[in-house]
Symmetry: C2
Subunit: 218 residues, 2 copies
C-alpha cells in the first residue's frame, strides 16, 4: 500500500468530510486494512478567493514536506486550490490526483453539466468542460454572490437548515436552466447538499477523489 | 498558534471523531481560526491488544517525524497506546497531552468511576484512579469479553443499533455496580455510546483531549 498525503484545511470541515469518505470507500474489516494518511490540515493557507492570495507557494511547500515525511501520492480536497495543481506537482515530484478531472469524469455522458463552486473553481471547470465537449451551466452573477455567502456561512460552522435551503436553491437554479447533472465543485457543498435535494444526479467531487485515492494507494 | 501533531489511526474512525471534536472545540468564524494539524493516521500500527504487539517503537518514530515536519504539541486519540506515552515523549522531546489524565480530571469529584476500555487501557486507569484516591469500577471478565467483541465490530465499520445496544449494556453494568460517572476509556466508545444512554455522566476522553489541544495550541 502507498502512503497518501493530504493537503487539507481548505476548509477544515471539508477535509474531515473527505477523510470520512476515504474510510467509507476502503474495503476494510480491521484497522490495518485502511490507508495510511499523512495530512497537513493547514487552515492558514491564504484564502483562495481573495485577490492576491498567495496560496501556491504555501501549498507547494506543504507538498514537499509531506513527501519528505513519506507521502507517495497526493490528494487535495479543495477545488479552488487546484489552480495551483501544477505548482504542487512540480515542487513535490509526486502525483496529485486531480479533483476537477475526477468530478468531470464522474458526470458520465451528461452533456449540460451544472457546477457549484467559487469563481476561480468555476473558471477551471468552464475550461475543462468546454475542452471535453460539454456545456457548462454556471450560476448567474446573482446566484454566485449567494453561493459565496453560503460558503462563508458554512466555513463559520453553520451547516443548518438555512444554509441547506440556500444551497438547494442555488442547485435548483442550475437544474431549471437545463443542467443534466450537477457537480459539487467546492468541497464545502456536500456538507449542506445531498443527492435527495436534486432531481438530477449530484456529483460529489470529494467522494470521487476518495475512491480514486483508494484505487491509487491499494 | 502552535502546530498540533496527531498520532492517529488507532482506529481510523476514532481519529476522525477526535478531529471533529477538535474543530467543534475551536472558536472559529473562518478557516484561518482553526488549528493547523499535522497528522499521521497510521492504521498499520501493530494491534495494541495482541500479545507482543510492538507498537511503542512505531509510535515513537511517528512522533519524531511529526516533530520534524513542524509539530510542536502531540496528541494521540487512543487510550491503549498511552502505554507508550513516555517512549513517545522521550523520543520526540515534545509534550504529549495525556488522554488518560485528562479523562480522570474530567470526572470531577465522583468517587466511584466506571471505565470502558481494552484490558491494557483499564490497567492504566486502575493504577491512576487508585493513586488519585478514586475507586475504579471495571467490567467483569464476561463484560470485558463482550466489550472486546463490540470493539472489533466497530473497527470493522459496524456502528449500528446492535453495537450501540451492546455497548449501552456494558455501560449499564458499571452503573448497576455503583459507578457515579463512566469514562469512555477507548476512543471507539463515543462512536456508539452517548450521554443519553446513561443515567450518570459519560466522560468522553476524545472531547476532553480536543479541548486540551485547543487550550495548548492557541
Amino acid at each position: 500500500m502507498k502512503i497518501l498525503g493530504v493537503l487539507g484545511g481548505m476548509g477544515p470541515a471539508a477535509t474531515l468530510d473527505f477523510l470520512a469518505k476515504l474510510q467509507a470507500a476502503t474495503p476494510a474489516a480491521r484497522d490495518q486494512d485502511h490507508l495510511r494518511v499523512l495530512m497537513d490540515l493547514n487552515p492558514q493557507v491564504p484564502d483562495r478567493n481573495v485577490e492576491g492570495g498567495a496560496a501556491g507557494p504555501v501549498l507547494a511547500e506543504m507538498a514537499v514536506r509531506l513527501r519528505e515525511a513519506g507521502a507517495e501520492v497526493l490528494a487535495m480536497p479543495c477545488n479552488t486550490a487546484h489552480l495551483h495543481a501544477e505548482e504542487i506537482r512540480a515542487a513535490s515530484g509526486l502525483p496529485l490526483l486531480d479533483l476537477i478531472d475526477l468530478a468531470i469524469a464522474a458526470a458520465g455522458n451528461a452533456r449540460r453539466i451544472g457546477v457549484l463552486g467559487t469563481r476561480l473553481a468555476l473558471d477551471l471547470y468552464r475550461t475543462r468542460l468546454t475542452a471535453a465537449g460539454r456545456e457548462p451551466i454556471l450560476p448567474t452573477e446573482e446566484a454566485q454572490s449567494a453561493f459565496m455567502d453560503i460558503l462563508y456561512r458554512i466555513k463559520s460552522g453553520d451547516t443548518g437548515p438555512t444554509a441547506r435551503a440556500l444551497m438547494a436553491a442555488c442547485a435548483g437554479g442550475l437544474e431549471q436552466r437545463g443542467a443534466e447533472a450537477i457537480i459539487a465543485g467546492c468541497t464545502e457543498v456536500p456538507l449542506v447538499l445531498s443527492a435527495d435535494d436534486l432531481a438530477v444526479p449530484l456529483i460529489d467531487g470529494s467522494a470521487e477523489l476518495a475512491r480514486a485515492c483508494v484505487a491509487a494507494c491499494r
